[in-house]
Symmetry: C2
Subunit: 219 residues, 2 copies
Amino acid sequence: MSRSGSRAAAQPQVDQNGRVLGPKALQTRERLLRATEDLLSKRSLRELRVVDIAREAGTSPATFYQYFKDVEDAVLLLAEQADDEMPALVEQLEAAWSGEDRLERARGVVDGFIRHWDSHRAILRVRNLAAEEGDRRFRRTRRKALGPVLGGLAGQIESFQRQGKVGPEIHPYAAAAALAAFLERLASYHSELEGLGIARDDLVDTCARILIQTVTGEA
Amino acid sequence: MSRSGSRAAAQPQVDQNGRVLGPKALQTRERLLRATEDLLSKRSLRELRVVDIAREAGTSPATFYQYFKDVEDAVLLLAEQADDEMPALVEQLEAAWSGEDRLERARGVVDGFIRHWDSHRAILRVRNLAAEEGDRRFRRTRRKALGPVLGGLAGQIESFQRQGKVGPEIHPYAAAAALAAFLERLASYHSELEGLGIARDDLVDTCARILIQTVTGEA
DNA sequence: TGTACATCAGTGAACGCGCGTTCACTGATGTAC
DNA sequence: TGTACATCAGTGAACGCGCGTTCACTGATGTAC
């Protein structure tokens, strides 16, 4: 079922006809993916042409179709690759709420989110759009990436709630969802805010504080 | 310069050749806009065809081009119309932070955002995408809509800061931006969360509390 | 009140480009003996 | 070590559809006298 990239002991990669890919083929496929990503950061999905991807990758359209069903297919794969990076972020998130240096660590979380978006902006944007338009495959990879974030945050909030530090009227999962939404939007949007004269450090710092405040109930 | 819809004492509307539109023409144009909006909630901008819009509006493609330069042009107009609804929301926002019933009112703000998105989901989605892709016109209308929200929130935060209720390390504008990002993402995303089993009331309530907490510094 | 003309609004039908997609083929690399 | 054959990887060139866009035209509505 899975077609994913970086799973351990991955199934051998196959092309559109089910043939196993040799090393050279894998390289070409990778070049096509990079080309897709590159172009997507310069123009919209709407304007993305198979021919251009092929040219950018130094190959021909026919080759593209050897590896992908269509443009969406390639984009989905890229989205899955990007989403596979999330676990590292989630780890930070789970250790971030106690101890002296929690502000520092919360900043790390916010910063991690922003970095993640900065390196996959185009893909994540398209992924979210497709997910919101209702495409199942994009919804799925999105949920796979964000689910653990929700879970992690909700767990933390719940535990602070049990300590009586967060009010009982807060719904942990709802709050977690709100925070995740917040982090994501922020990350996708920060450069526009910086254009408005809000310095990045202020943004990160302020967001880290909001995060701590909401999760732990104290400033 | 302005081409906007609901400005007071608007310039007379004109078609692509600069001819003033009579009442019948205005109706047709309106039908085309509605058709565009409708279709956009069923499929992506990528799949939106002039021919389909025309058919949906019960007219011909040639007519479409009498009123709009292209599909984007129509979509931009719709985005401007949607963004013209923001001022009402901003008003709620400015009166929402003192008094007994502030939780109730904060809920109203959150709910207002969600409703706004619910009635213009497709358009606002496309607007944001286009803005993030760097399209100036979409950026502009987006900023016009969200700017006052930022300003309003920042003003409130600043005043609570002066009262010593919000810590001085919070950057009012950054916090306002974070909250605006949060509200917007939440509004665009809530139905997915509800699908995950988070009840809408819980979501609204929890978000209202986060809002109050962050703006006023107290729960 | 009727006729002539002007403007408004809308469209059928066609043109032609751009693009997705495929097919039949070539050349490169690996393997058996 | 050399030859024959199998598989891998890639592509040129064409086909044809779908769609954006326009043009020359028709019919409807308004206005002058």
